[in-house]
Structures are given as structure tokens and as C-alpha cells.
Amino acid sequence: MPKQGRHHGAPPGAASLRAIRWVLKPVLFIACLVPAMRLTAGAFGLAGVSLGADPVAFMLHTCGKWTLNFLMIALCMTPLRDLTRSVHWLRFRRMFGLFAFFYVLLHFSVYLLLDRAGKLGDLWQDIAKRPYITIGMSALLMLIPLAVTSTAKAQRRMGRRWLRLHRLIYAIAVLGVWHYWWGVKKDIREPLLYACGLTILLGYRAWKNRKSLASQISVANVARTDAS
């Protein structure tokens, strides 16, 4: 198959599908687990890995940041598909999204079980009293239905509703970055970086929608002119 064809949206060959499924995906999967493995090693003092002077804070921040990283990576897949005109990118989207969910569950578990020693009273109080925890918690809850309906089967069964539901990811990413921004003491450089990244990723989608909307309108106008 000519190389060019593959890069321009032609159905991918069986060989490259196999390579994605059996090589690239497993390698990426392991790579996505590296931050969690590092934290586990540090928690049990394995392989000389240390979590530093304040291990709970370090775990909390590391898991939180990797949640945002995976949300951003997942949101990059569609723009990358458009840019490279290769649908292969979308084959990784679910995995990245689920890793965002995995890390946010770790983030939440560290907060509730280690930092708050499992005291649910503390959790309710924080959710009620501290806006940055309220929005963080709502983002986590909104991720649950997305994770549950991430299977191919659910996607088929839900049809158009699936697409609508999974648009929640945009709100989740906004809330996640907002949660981080509100949580830092004073230096907002890193949350700002995420906010800029997210603005570009969401801005791109808005721009694309407007463009397709505009072309629909112009098609409609043409149709109207034709009709008259």
C-alpha cells in the first residue's frame, strides 16, 4: 500500500492495526503507569525511590497533575487526527481518558484515605466549605459515567447519546484546571499553563464548529437561492 494513502485517511492496513494493538498500545499503557509505579515504589521505599519530606502532599500533587496531563493528552487526539489526517490517534483516546480517571481516583484516595485518614465527615465538610474541593469533586463525579460508558459496546448501544454524554469531558477539564488554580497558594504559573493548553484545545474545537456551522449556513443559503 502506498505510504501516502495511509496518511490520508485510507483504511489502515491490517499490519499497522496489529502493530498498534499489540505493540504501540501495550508500550503506551506501561508508560502511562510509570508515575503510579514510581509513587508505589516511593510509598514502600523500594528501589531507592523517595517521596520527599511530605510524601502525602507529593502523592496528592503528582496524581492530580497526571490526571490533568491525561485529560489534556486525550483532548489532543482529535486535533492531531485533523492535523495529520490519520484516524489512528483516536484509537488511543479511550486509554488516555481512562488513565485520567485512574489517576483522579488515586488522587481522591490519597486525599481521603491518607490525608484525611478515611474520615468521611472531613470529606463532606471540605466539599461543602471549600469551593476548590467542590469543583474538584464534581469533576471526579462527572468522569464516572464517562468511564462506565467507555466500552465499544456502550458506544454502539448509546449511539448519538454517547457523543453528547462524552462532551462532558470539556466541562470536566475546565473544572479540573480550575480546581488546580484555586488550590495553589500564590504561584499560578503551572495552572496557567494548563489553562492556556486547554484554551487552545477547546478553542480549536469551537473554531472548527463555527467553520462547519458557517459552511452549513452557506450550503443552506445556496439551497435557498436555488429554490427561489
Partner: protein, 321 residues
């Protein structure tokens, strides 16, 4: 004043000479080989008198004013702290401060006092015998440590400047030198860092001017050469690398209180019942605790209530947080 420091600092032989030896040499020059200089050497330049530990200080232990809890490790104390002049990450000070020049150093004293002017660090320190005090440290971010500081009571220093009856507050400033302090190149806080105490707080026997920790001269990242320790207040009151002491009639406009007045107050007394707007102050994570240890309850005035609560009798500590 700033000019003096930076110009002299340009000589920068501190980069190649161990700090304590450098210091004792300067003390010799400054003191004209007099008795005072020898005392200074005895206190700062252990090496010159044949003691082996570099930077070792001569001090006595003040057990009466020390807590009995085990201090945190030297490593944790010197690699995990806030010192925004060197960066906002807690590992930044240890990374960015080693080249910081604390010699020569001078302190300018001004305002409502009879004795004012610019003094060399040696002159500031000379008359004060050093003592070690193991204090609790509670950061406003809800973590805590136990630190064996070496220093002397701020009150003893204040008396030497003979503050007038108009002096109601004392204000401190950190060095402003963005070339040496990379954090000051960003406007994350208004520079220079300003802190202050009410006069009775400054004169309280627990309030310490610290010049060292763990028996050694103060590491740069912990606020060398001269920093404040007020153990019943949140850590940010403990201003570092002090170059200015000013006696004022009005409350100083302190950095964090100016920067985020709804979150940080002038008094900043450790208080488990007054939350930071974004987090609870009722408990703290103790540095050095294991991952599975629970948070510890935070004590009013960081456990120093019996000694200091009377300073604030009749004050609404929810309003004056």
C-alpha cells in the same frame, strides 16, 4: 544600603572560601584583632580555634524553652521549606541559595529609636551569647516540623537600639537583590519581603533572632545570615536574610497580608479554630511522619499558649487572624 551590600558582594570570594573561614577572617579585619573579634571567632569560626566541624557555633542549650519532641532531620529542614526569594517550590531554596553571599552583610536600623544607622552583621551579633532552642514550626500550609534553632532573643537586640515611646511595632525587611535571589525577578509577591511584630511580641522571650540550626551556622536556604523565629505564629512571619529593622508607630504592611489580605493577617498566630479560607487549620501533617501516619491536631498558639496567650487577651482572634 543595598548598594553597599551588592558592591562589596561582587568580590565573591565566598564562592571559593568556605563560609565560616571567610567569616572569621572578616571578623578579624573588622575587629582589628581586638577582644571582640576573638569572641566572634569563638562563636562563628570554630575552625580558627582548632575545632573541626565547619560552621560549628558555640552555644548553650536552653532546655527550659525547648520542646522535647525529636527534631526533624537536617536534610528535611534544609531541603523542604518556603523561601519565595529563591523560588516557590519547597525544593527551590536548597537548589538556588547555595551561591547566595551572606558576607559581608549589614543591617540598617531606623525609625523610632535612639540608636539608628547601618551596622555590620558582626556588630549586630557581637554581644549576644547564642543558645539552642528546639521549637515547633507550623507552616500556614498546614504542615509542621521541629527545628533546633541557634540564636538569641530578639528582645536583647531591640534593647540595644533604645526604641522610643513612639515605637509600637518593629518592621523587618529581607534583602532585595534579584541578581542573587531569582524569585525576586518575578512579581509573585511584592518585594522586598516585609514582616513585623508588635513591640510586646518582639520583646517576648520566645522570639528569636536565629543564626543557625543543628549547632551550625544557618544554611542559606533557611535564611542566613539572620532570620526571625516566632514559634507561636505561622512560619511566614519568620522573615529571612534580614537587612533592615525599623521601629514604627503604625503596624507594618507585611507582605502576605498585603498580597492576600483575606487569607493572611498581620498577627498570623497559629489558631486551629480559624481556618485559612481554602483549607482547615485544625490539623497538620508532620514532616518526617510516615505515609500512613494520621494528621496531628494543631494546638492554639502552636502549643505556646501558656506563654503567649496573655499578649492577646481581649482581642478577637477571628478578626485579628
Amino acid at each position: 544600603m543595598r548598594k553597599t551590600i551588592t558592591n562589596l558582594g561582587r568580590i565573591a570570594s565566598s564562592d571559593i572560601t568556605p563560609q565560616d573561614r571567610y567569616l572569621s577572617r572578616r571578623a578579624l579585619v573588622a575587629g582589628g584583632l581586638g577582644l571582640a573579634a576573638i569572641q566572634t571567632i569563638g562563636r562563628f569560626g570554630g575552625e580558627a580555634l582548632g575545632e573541626s566541624a565547619p560552621g560549628a557555633l558555640a552555644y548553650t542549650r536552653n532546655a527550659a524553652l525547648s520542646v522535647t519532641d525529636a527534631p526533624n532531620s537536617y536534610k528535611d529542614i534544609t531541603t523542604y521549606n518556603n523561601y519565595y526569594e529563591f523560588g516557590t517550590d519547597k525544593s527551590d531554596p536548597a537548589e538556588n541559595a547555595p551561591g547566595f553571599r551572606t558576607q559581608p552583610w549589614s543591617v540598617t536600623v531606623g525609625g523610632e529609636a535612639e540608636v539608628t544607622g547601618t551596622f555590620t552583621l558582626e556588630d549586630v551579633l557581637k554581644p549576644h551569647p547564642l543558645e539552642e532552642r528546639i521549637y515547633r514550626l507550623r507552616c500556614v500550609e498546614a504542615w509542621s516540623m521541629i527545628v533546633p534553632w541557634v540564636g538569641f532573643p530578639l528582645g536583647d537586640l531591640v534593647k540595644r537600639f533604645k526604641p522610643t515611646s513612639k515605637a509600637k511595632f518593629v518592621e523587618f525587611k529581607t534583602l532585595y537583590d534579584p541578581r542573587q535571589m531569582p524569585g525576586e525577578r518575578r512579581s509573585v509577591l511584592p518585594w522586598p519581603y516585609v514582616e513585623g511584630l508588635r513591640m510586646d511580641e518582639a520583646m517576648h522571650p520566645l522570639t528569636l533572632m536565629a543564626v543557625g540550626l543543628y549547632g551550625k551556622s544557618m544554611p542559606n536556604q533557611n535564611g542566613a545570615p539572620l532570620r526571625l523565629i516566632v514559634p507561636w505564629k505561622y512560619g511566614f512571619k519568620g522573615i529571612k536574610a534580614i537587612v533592615s529593622i525599623n521601629f514604627t508607630e503604625r503596624a507594618p504592611r507585611t507582605t502576605w497580608a498585603v498580597s492576600a489580605p483575606e487569607e493572611y493577617g498581620f498577627f498570623a498566630n497559629v489558631n486551629p479554630t480559624v481556618d485559612h479560607p481554602r483549607w482547615s487549620q485544625a490539623t497538620e501533617r508532620h514532616i518526617g511522619a510516615s505515609l500512613f501516619d494520621q494528621r496531628r491536631p494543631t494546638l492554639p498558639f502552636n502549643g505556646y499558649g501558656p506563654q503567649v496567650a496573655s499578649l492577646y487577651s481581649g482581642m478577637d482572634l477571628r478578626k485579628y487572624f
